[in-house]
Each structure stands twice: as C-alpha cells, then as structure tokens.
Symmetry: D2
Subunit: 449 residues, 4 copies
C-alpha cells in the first residue's frame, strides 16, 4: 500500500468494503503469516547456533525471512553477525509476506490437519551432503499452526452494493499460484448458486495454475471461464494507439481463448469498458467474437455497479447451463519434471522448446532424489508476454523458455521453475504513496487507495 | 511466547482472559507497531537509495528494524547488499517490537494529534555533519499514524472473575519506561473509583520512571503505592535460603520504601504469598513493617482469586483516604542532563557518583545542541540490583554508575542513559517453548502459557 | 602457484630459470603492485571515513582490493563494518593481483612520468551525481608511484641454455591486454637484432590487443608473427580424437591466419611438437600450409632446447627479410565505441552483430560524458571460442556478441567491454597444489612447477 | 609508512641505510609473511567450501587475514558472500602484517626445521565441539615454509657511519613479543664482541617479554641492559612541562630500574639528549642516578653519530666486565596460567590483583584442555602506563589488571592475555603522509621518513 497507488479492493461502484481496513491490517492474516514464517527462520538459526547437529551448509539455507512491506534494502542481507553469542553468519533474503510459501500453503490447505501436514514438509535448508531439513525436523509445526489458526478462517466482506465476497489469502503470483484460498472457495460453493473466483495474470499463469494445481488439490470442476479483456490491453499487444492496433492485438486474445479450450471449459469474454473506449474499437472485438463463435459482453461495473454487469451475468448463466464443461488437466503429474514443463511451455505459451541451466538440471535431479518430482508445476514467468521475455508481445512463436533454477515448495506441493529474475521483495519508488497518506486528529485517513 | 515459559496474562485464579489470544496476536497492536516502525526504516533507506539528498552518514543510522520474535541472528546484520538496485549497505540491528520507540510513544501519547507530534520528532539518522534526520523530514508520519490508529485504542479484557483490566502497550522496561499506555490509564480513571496500574522492575526503575516521566506527561497524581514483595526476593537479596536471609534481605525493601517516600506518596506493602512461605518468614516481614510503621497485607490472589486480596484492598482504601498524597517529582527537567542523572543515581540508587564514557560526554553535548537536554531521563539499568552491577544485592553503597552512551528517544520524549550492555533482541534457548506448542485438528492448543 | 599445476617458466629444455624464484616472490613486482593497489583503496575509504567530502555513492566504488592468491572467499565481501571508528560499510571485491589495473598500467607505461600520468587517471568511485573520483583527486599518485619505482625495472632472466629473456609484468588476459611490459619490449629492441614477445590467447585476444593497444601506445611495428599451433588444439576444434578431427579443426587455424593478415603482418606457423603426434597428423598441417602458401615449421624446444627451433628460426628470419610488414591498426580510435567494438567483433571474431545490455548502453553514454570514448577497446571474452560462448568451436558464424557492461580502465587507457561473467579471483581446487609443496630442513623445495 | 610520520630507520647521524628501501619493500620479508599468512587463510576457507569435513564453527575462525597497510575498513569484514560458488560466509578481521603470528614465529624460529614445527601448531579455527584445527591438519606447512624460506635470512644493513646492524622481523609489540628475530641475534653473537638488541616499549613490555620469552627460547643470557630515557618522557610521567615535572616523573624510571633488577641483569641508563633539554633537567637525572647508584650517560647520537655515544659505550663495557649478570626468569612455565599472569602483573606492573572476564576463564580452561597452559605469557597491554589504563602515569599502585580474553599463539609458543581493546589494524589519519609522498620523473622520492 505504501509504494504505488492501487490497493486490493477494486474501484468505482464495485469497490469492496471496508476499503481502509482491507488495505491496512484487515483481520491480521498477513501478520500471522509473517509471524509463523519468521518463527521458522528463527528456529532454524537457533538450531545452528546451539551446535548445528544437522551440519547444515549455511549457503543452502533456502528459507528467507519475510516482511509485509516494500523494502529493497532487505533483498540481500547478512545476518548472524556480531560474535559467538549472536548466531552463525549467513546470507539472508527477505521477501514480501505474500511470497512466503506459508501463504501458498494457507491457500491450498483444506483443514487444520492439512495445514499441519503441509507445514511439516517445508524445506528450509540442506546439509553439506544435501539432506533436506524440514520444518518437522525443527519441531516448528505446532507453534506455526497455532499462529495461523485464525488466519485459516475465510474473511467475508461485501461490495458497496452488498454483494458478498471472500478476501482471503493472496499468494504472490510471481512465484506461487496466485489465487485466493481454496477453503474460501469451497465454503462459497456450499453457500451460493454461482461462485466466481479470480485467477489473475492471464490464461498462461492464473488460469493454468488454478486448473492444474488448485483444481487438482481441491477436486474442483469449473463450469465456465470469464475472460476479462480491455481495449487498452489489446492496443498494448498490437503495439499501437489506434483501432488498427486493437485489431492487431487480437492474436493475443485468440491464444488465451485457445488455452482455456485446452482445459475443456466453456469461455465467455468480458470486455471491461473504459471511458475512452470508442464504439469502433468495441465493434472490432464484438466482430471478432462473433466470427470465432465466442460469447461476449461489455461490462461497466466501475461506473454502474452491478447494473453494468447484467448482460454478462445473463450470458454466463446461459453458457453454464447450455454448454457442459469437460474440464480436464493439461498434464499428468506422473510425467517427468521436464515433460510437465515442456507441456506447459509448448501448449500454453506456444514455445518451441525449453532449455535448462546447469543449476536447473541439478535441481531436477535433486527433486527426483527427494521424491518431489511428481508434484505439479508452478512456473515463475513474466505476465507481460506468453514468452519469458516481456518485450515479446502479441502471440509470439518460435521462442525458447529458459529455466534457470527450480525452487521446491514442498509444503505447498509444487515445483517452481524460475524462468527469469523474479523479485520477491519490491522496492519503494522515489515518491512513495506513503509520503502522501495523512490522518487528521479525528482519525480520518486520506491518500489510501 | 516462543522462547521461555511465562506469558503476559498472570496465573492462577487471577489470570486475565482470553489468555490464548492475548499471548498470540491479540488485537494486532504489536503487528501495527511493527509495521509502522519498519515502514519508517524502509522510507529512510529509500531516501538514501534515491540519491541521498541529506548526505546521511550510514554509520549513524540509529533507527533499527523490529520483529516481534526472539531471534538472535537479527541482532547484528548488514542490509542493502546486492548492488545498485538494492539499496545502500549499512549495518542494521533488529530489536524485538516492544523495544521500538514507537511502543514508548504509543504508551505516552494522549491523542492522535499527540501521537503524530511525537512521531514527527523521532530521530532516525544523522548526516555527516551531525544534523538529525527525523520522521517528519522523511514525510513518514501520516502513514505511520494511519497504521497505528487502531492500536491507539485501549484493549479492555477481564480476569477469570470478571474484573475489568486494560492490556494495552508494553514498552521494554530495559530501554523505555516499562508501563502500560497513558491513554488506558486516563480512560480507566474516568470509569472507576480506584484504578491501579503496574510499574514493574522496582522503585528504582518502574516507579521512578512512572513518577518522573508518565505522571509528568499525563499530569497524574498517584494516591498510593502498592509495593509488592515476596519472601523469595528477600532471600535472594539476603543471599541465603533460610529465615536469616529474609531478615538480611530487608535492607533492599527498606530502600524501596524510602524511594517511594522521596516522591511523597503513601505506600503499602503487599506480600505475595507463595505455597512454600512459612509463618516464621512472613512474621519477619510483618514485624519489620510494624517497626517501620508501614502498612502491610499478605495477598494470595493466585490460589484464591479476589478473595485473597480483600485485606490489601481494605487497607489500601484506608491509606488513600487517611493519608494524603503529596506527590512531587524527583527533579526539575530544566536541570542539566548530568544533574538529572546524578539526582536519580544518588537518591534512588544510592550511588556515590556517576562516571561518563567519552561517547556519553559527546552524546550529552549533542543533546544540548539539538535542544533535547531538557527532556526527562529514562535510565537503562539492570533490574537485578540498585547498582548497574547485577551482582551487588541487598542495598549496596559506595558504588559508581557508569554511563556508556545516551540514546535519544526524541519522540517518546526522554533521554536514555545506557549503563550497561542492554540487549534489545532476545534469543531462543536450546530447547525453546515453541517446540512444545501443539494444536490438534480441531484447533485446541497446548503448551502456551 | 598454489592451486593448479603449471607455473610461469615453461618446461623441458626451454625452461626459464631461476624457476623457483620466478614462481615465488621473484623480484617483488607483484607485491609492489599489490601494495600500491591496496594503498589506493585504503586512501579512498579513508576519505569517506573522514567526512566524505565528495559525497561518494558507496554502491559505485569500482576499485577492488587485490591479493596475489587464489582465494574465492574474497570474491564478494563487505568491509567497513564494526562501527563509526572502523570506516563506512560497502561491498568489496578482491581480485587477484594480475587483474589490477595497475598491472596493466605498469605494462604500458614507458617512463616514470608516464606511469604517474596513468595512475592519476584511475577512476576508483563515483559520486551520487556520477562524477568520477580519480587517484589524483585522492592525492594518491606520489605514494603509489614510489611503491612501484623498482617494479618498473624489467627483469632479465635466461633459459637453461642461457638465452636471455625478460619476465616483466603479466596483466590478466581476461580483463586486460595480457602481454608483458612495453618497457621491457622497447629495452629488448635496443639490445638485440631479433626480439620476440608473447601475446597469448590467440589472434582474437592476444594478437588483436597487442596490435591495437600496445603497438599503438608504443609506436611499435611488428615485422612478423609466429602463430603457434598444436595437433591437440586442432583436434579440440575439430571435436574429435583422430586425424579426421585435425583436418576438421583447420578452419580455426585458417581464421587465425586471416586475422593476422588483417593487420598486414607476415605470418609463419610453428607447430609445437608433442610426443604423441603422428607423422600423418603433422602432414595434414604441412599440406594445408603449402596449399595456403603460409610458411611453417615443426618445433620441439621442450625436448631438444634451442636445437628444436632452428628450422623455425631460419624460416622466420627469411620471412622478415623477404616479406615487408605493412602493419596497420584495425580501427581508428576516433570511431564511436560501438563502431570500434563492431569492427573487432565482425572482422576478428566473425560475429554477425553485437547486442548491448541496458547497463552497457549506460556505460557507453557515461564514457562519452567522461571523454573516454576515444580510448581503444580491450574486449573481455572467453579464449575458448572466437565467439563469447566457449562451446562454439572451430570457426563459428552467424553468432552475436553480447556486451553486458563496460569497465573503464582510464589509467591503462582502454575500455573493457565485458562479454560474459569474467572471474577475476580464482578459487583453489579441492586438492590444491599447495598441499603437496614441501621444503626440507635444508631449504630444498619439491612440488613447485 | 603511509599514515603517520616516522619510519623504522632512526634519524640524524645514526640513521640506518638504505632508508628508502628499508621503509618500502626492503628484502620482501613483509610480503613473504603476508603471502604465507593469507595462503593459510585461503586453505582454511577452501576446506570449508569443499564440504567442511571438520565441521568447523564459522564463529570460531580465529585466523585473520593480513595486509601490510593501515586500512581501518578491513578491521571488520564479512567474507565468503556471493553464493555457493564463492565460499562460506564468516566474519573476518584483517590485521596489519606485523601482527601476524607468523611474524612472531619467524622471529623465534632458529632454523627451517624449527620454523616448520611452529607453523604446524598454529590454530586457525575450532570445530563445533571445540577441537582445534591447525595448519598441519590443513596440509599448509610445506607451502607456507617455502614462501618464507628467504624471509628467514637475516638482513644486514649499516648506519651512515658504517656500523653493521640487522633489521630482521618486527612482531607487533601490542599482541606479540616485539623484538627482532632470534636468528639475527644469534648470528650477531657469533660475529662480534658486543651485540645489542632493541626490546621496545619499556621494561614492563619489551624487556619482560625479551627475558621471559625470547631468552628462554634462545637460551640467551644478557650481560647488561641499556635503559633509554628522555627528559620529555619523564615530564610526561610527571605530568608537567617544567623541571618539577622531571623530578616527579622519576618514580617511573625507578620502577623500570627495579624491574630490570628482578631479572638479575646490570643496568645502565642512557639519557637520550634532545636539543631543548636544559642542563638543570639533565642534572636532576644525573643526581638521581648517583643517589641510586645506577650508572648513567648522556647520549646524542642523533646530532653527533657514534661520537655522541662514546661515553655510554665506555661505561657499558665497564659494566659488563665488572658486574656479573645473574640473569634469571621471572616465573617458571610450569606454574598455572593465572599464577604466571599474577606474577607479571604484581611484580612488574605493580598491580594489586588480576581479574578475569567470563571469556578469559573459558580460555584458560581451554588452554589446559589443549595442553597449552605451560606456555610462557605474552601480555597485550598499553605501553603508556604500567597499568592497563593509559591515563595512570608515573608509578601507579593499588590498581587491578583486567584480562578480557586470552589468545593462543600456539605456533609462536605463548599465550596472549588481552588486557584492553588492542587494535591490530591501524587506520590512516585525516591527512595521511601518503598524500605528501612524491617521486619525480627520475625516481627521486620525497616525503618518506
């Protein structure tokens, strides 16, 4: 909240409230995750300090610390300095709390029991002979789960018009699956007739991970997909600012539609209406949808609230009832790690091939030794392109995906191939929003969005 | 909660509830302070990163980061490593959250307005030519106060018997004033006939600071003091395990009583009864009280609840109504820094003289240049002795107090002479309590005290 | 000497003596360079410590420290820790002494006056507003030159057969020009009829830099080039182990010959004879040379001493007297930085194009602002391939050269485009040679090569 | 040479030449020690990097690195950063080369064999279960001794008048024994009739250590002591600037004379004449000497060369021939560590008692476990006072000596009780001498003293 403008509550007449609380401490879930995460780090360093019975290699401490702030100075630190009474020195990265594996775990765990089992499996370090040290080995699980017990409860809020909504969990889409808690989704499915969840960052990231990871874990069968698109985004992919660019950018939309179809789920396109959009531009999209036989509706919930989404709602319900979903996974988890990555990269991204660094090859081998190679895959990739190069717009072809290393989220239950330099701790800009936030003597806050 | 046994809710029939919540995240005040504190640190480092317009000396960054955990590996760190995109390197200490100056500020601020004014004055660093950089200069105050707005509200809980109690704020008595929030105290004074607050660590620390700092800020006039004593403590100061030691240890009690009298407040001694205390031992204390004309009552609220404190309550009410308090401060703040320290050290501690390191002399000079020398004094000293040597028990004399440096808590509004090595970040023991905490599949927690 | 086997004195009957001294401290030149280099680093940090009048950005301290040892633990360090009395913290790399810019300077300086002028220009850091801080600004030059005055004197040694040789200077070919001191070369040219110097790492690195940098600085006109080749190297580039591979590898030799011709200098090929070479293999090379009209001789100075080089000597003298050298530089220094790099990359390496990272673009711009863009170019590139990918053997085509950043050796007088990760501090292997070196009680050493 | 004025060659007509060389690289001994020292550090870190078979505690790496420069930024560093390929992180101190234990070893070793045996015993680190790791265990001794083989040879120079002098070795008197090499002394004793060695820093440091450590190792029996004194020093200890102060300062001289007598060696006082000394001041010293029956001579070798020392020489020869030395050690090495320290502190310093920190108690216990408690003692203490407080001038009494820790110089063969904060790496002043050193184009140096 303190760096760039733009909070988590949406805007206009569809804003979720209480905005101020949601954007500040809310129900304390973030703080609980922060505490549980850092407790584990402290217990690990404490083990080493008190004799290091496991003979841990300080270079292979893979559990960062977290802080729920943008703070670039914490990206690369050295801790444990000061002398024999102050721990053993090692390099330490701080991530922002949503990037914690515990956030991913909390969003996939279906019960306290499940939570504890996942926490047990977290790998925090390796010994000099490459044995993994887990949270279980450090006897950390009970205390961590205790700190998380309330954070496990879904948070029910509402829009300005009183529509109920869950705001619960938010794993960093950069290195995790990026969708809200499974427990909230499942609760919602019991409560209402139609339940919608957000899976941000496009069909190549949000949708692919939701389908292959979350639906697999939760045994979910989505009935339909609402694919949100904007004229602005189409122009961006068409690399221009006029109607020509809209037309040119449609290849990007086309690939997203195809990707959804790979999973056997019916799709409807929602065109998010902006004030500056012209009729001509909107017509281009409508025309394309008709031509490709994809249902479509213009939505304007920002300025009209629920009223602005009625057409979409009607068409969506129609789609659900008249087009049966034949949901299927993209890959079988028993495939090899490389086969799974290859499947996603070629089918979803449209890549020609996948190349691996020496480190990544080592990681794959290690995943096999540790029995982790049958986990699903959660690729860390830029959301700005189907490729791993954010400059390749539209629908690129003939490119290769480079896997530099693979992180093991053994507790969350997936492997994370890193396809570029992913920052898990943002920095503040030269003029951070924090400098403009004010609160008067009566507690009225301004500058928070 | 994760290191040693012993939470913050008391025990037996006088325990404050809900124990589990109070000992875990409670109302999130700690997390709010942590966030506000670390936001300020991030804004400071961000300023340096984006050009360092103030020309700050990285060796004189005096604002630590905090974490609400025992974590010795964070005592001495280096942050800002990694290259030009990742901040400017400097040494960084992490303290535990209660040691944050913001905790002290929150416990002294009487309104949001007051809170903001105090936050403004926090000194976070110095330039190469010794100009102080404050939170105000970094435009941090609005965002910090916004993060703290709910934490400013007192938390009302109750004992097992339903007696109301505020649990609000807890500044580290080691380097701050160690008493709960003034805002809770003042609220309480409006609500009930008799209001009691705790000022831990003896007359030389808790009481002295409460009288000279908190009462001065809040314009409070205490009616009476309940001086809590135990046979165990008297034996400790008598350096033995038998009745003889109790007798010998009474010189320590004597000095505490004299100290209270220096402030003009009537005092009653409450002997906290432990199961193993013998009648003979209790008689020694009673006899001493009679001889010195100090009212006294044995209390046993641990095993009997309120019933065990009835005698004390009666005598205390009697004391308040029949002995007028002539409360006065020990020193005038217009005295020089050394005069104020000398007054506390000689009158309260019984020291012969005060000596200053070269660093402390510099600090005093700087406090004068910065206009901070008229602040009250909050000495950081061991609670185990009237002196600064924890081995000198009973009522030592002829000793000197050594001031090694002086920290400026310009926002809290006091100067902190450091009289020894004060750790503001505890470590975990070889067998931390955290390892024994469990939670079953239904959310029942064990191992939390 | 302490890591891998293989010293600097050659072997067999052409070894240069005294081997032991040359491989240990020799005349102390390395130590003098180490001292002068580190003195400058100390003066820089001292300037910052005493008030930092220049307002230096600690992230842009570009002057490493050096040590004349393989020591990987010094590659990445943080110095200046410990508190206000112990300097200002910053990240610091240690290089091995030959990688010091001072080594490059010493090998290009033609007099003490020239040495001092070059030392003056060394850039050690930048201010927050990108002003360069030089050795001159730090008043370091007099002391540095004083430490180097004896190291400037060429060291005259001899082979086992008494042939005189200079062993003087050795700039790391990875990031500098890699040839011995110009002052020794010029002294040699005054003393004898024929003077040969070594310019290691092939025509693309050693020769190109010797011609374009050293000859330009020293106004030298080489009469001829002896191009040393081995059957083993040809097989490596032919990617096989039989005669077929020798044939296939000749494309690599061909490119080297063409490269020499680009400079207008006559060339003779010397085939360094190894015991295992077969006549058939040698015939292939001889045949190729005849076909391409390049003079050639087999040499075996390792087993036969000077006798083994007589044929080469004769042919070389013949070449010098009968083929006039029309030596010319490959590029004019007034060209832009990119034009100069492009010329080398396309003409010498055979690259298709050159691409630049964002950092490299910045560096080029900065070089122009600082008036350094008219310096010659000294590309840091792998010696294992004509390209910047050590796996591309033979004579690769169609490849691109990626410039990641550009270092300014303002004192040495060249710009260093970095085309890959160049380590300037080697590590020791798991079984370092140092462990096998022994010295008996009479001073006899074994294990030194 | 680069920080403060004042080299190692003396001044005036008794200067040792070649001054310039001696003050710069000289015969390279310092460089050889630097190389051998840092090689050992590199081998240690290399061992850890390649699997850490010994399970070394990174907090107990006790072997620093060294550099032969004043460089405060290297006092406290962290090395081994950068990732798994770049070593294991640990805190690292750099000392100035004379503070290396290898310097102390070189100055005590009597042969190459002895040198190797001492190098073997150097302790560089401890494992997590407190087993010492020695240079021998790291197979470092052969390579280290090879690097030191020439440095072991004594360096023979001469004064301006041609008097021969050895300049060989210089262990930091702060943490070592502070006298030149035993091998040079023993060589000198074979070559001339009268041989004089310097043992700087007074009878309490230089002389005590020379007698108890060097003479013990080398089986030397000194015939006489020349105790050098100046009017300036006496005034300093008398705390004034007039003749009164000279008189008052004589108690300091008295204690030095008594200390020498404790070793049974005849003593003569040499009053080093300064231009400003008055006859009256000199008379005071002469009078005192007559009264105490201590022979005495005024010397002025600075302005007169050897001529100025003729009286001293005559009286010294007389003393040697007519007063038999009954040299004896002050303590037996079989005494306990505390008894040995107590003996030195009370008899030589005049202390009342010795107190030990917790760390020092641990160190003593460890020295016993490692079989090192029978080594002689080499106390690190300020040279400015007989006590460990540099402000106590004259002949203080009633003071205590505080031992904070004990370093083990197992190779040099002594234990070093640390009685204060001893800096082994000096810093440069705000205006370092280095800035004033110049060298002209012909190699003439100015500014070197």
């Amino acid at each position: 909240m303190m760096g760039m403008k733009g909070g988590a509550t949406g805007g206009g007449y569809s804003q979720v409230i209480p905005m101020e609380d949601i954007n500040l401490h809310f129900t304390g879930d973030m703080h609980a995750i922060t505490s549980a995460h850092n407790l584990l780090a402290s217990l690990l360093d404490n083990h080493i300090h008190h004799g290091d019975a496991f003979h841990i290699d300080p270079r292979y401490i893979v559990w960062p610390r977290v802080m729920d702030l943008n703070d670039r100075s914490l990206r690369h630190t050295v801790v444990g300095l000061g002398g024999p009474q102050d721990g053993v020195p090692h390099q330490e990265e701080f991530s922002i709390t949503p990037a914690s594996e515990i956030m991913a775990i909390l969003c996939l765990a279906q019960s306290l029991k499940d939570l504890k089992e996942r926490l047990q499996k977290i790998i925090v370090a390796y010994t000099y002979d490459l044995q993994p040290i887990t949270a279980e080995k450090l006897h950390a699980v009970g205390a961590m789960a205790t700190l998380l017990k309330d954070a496990m409860q879904p948070n029910l809020v509402q829009t300005l018009e009183g529509v109920p909504a869950f705001v619960h969990g938010g794993p960093f889409a950069n290195i995790a699956h990026g969708t809200n808690s499974l427990i909230a989704t499942k609760l919602g499915l019991h409560l209402v007739d139609y339940f919608i969840t957000e899976a941000g960052f496009g069909s190549d990231l949000g949708a692919e991970k939701f389908f292959n990871i979350v639906c697999r874990v939760g045994n979910l069968k989505p009935d339909a997909v609402v694919l949100l698109v904007s004229i602005r985004a189409l122009k961006h992919h068409g690399q221009g600012i006029n109607t020509k660019a809209v037309e040119k950018g449609l290849v990007n939309l086309e690939k997203h539609v195809e990707n959804i179809h790979l999973f056997g789920v019916p799709v409807i396109i929602a065109l998010n209406h902006f004030t500056k959009d012209t009729d001509e531009e909107i017509n281009i999209v409508e025309h394309w949808c008709q031509h490709h036989q994809v249902p479509m509706a213009v939505v304007d919930v920002w300025s009209q609230g629920g009223e602005g989404g009625i057409e979409l709602a009607g068409k969506l319900v129609d789609l659900i009832h008249n087009h049966e979903s034949r949901f299927r996974f993209l890959y079988d988890t028993t495939l090899s790690v490389k086969e799974k990555i290859h499947t996603i990269a070629t089918k979803i991204y449209g890549a020609e091939r996948v190349v691996y660094s020496v480190a990544a090859e080592h990681d794959i081998k290690l995943s096999e030794q540790l029995g982790l190679s049958t986990l699903p895959i959660c690729i860390a990739k830029t959301p700005y392109s189907f490729s791993d190069d954010s400059n390749l717009l539209g629908r690129p072809t003939g490119f290769k995906i480079t896997v530099r290393s693979i992180r093991f989220s053994a507790g969350a239950g997936f492997l994370v191939p890193m396809t570029g330099k992913i920052t898990t701790m943002p920095g503040l800009p030269a003029k951070p929003v924090a400098e403009e936030i004010t609160i008067d003597d009566h507690g009225n806050v301004t500058g928070l969005f």
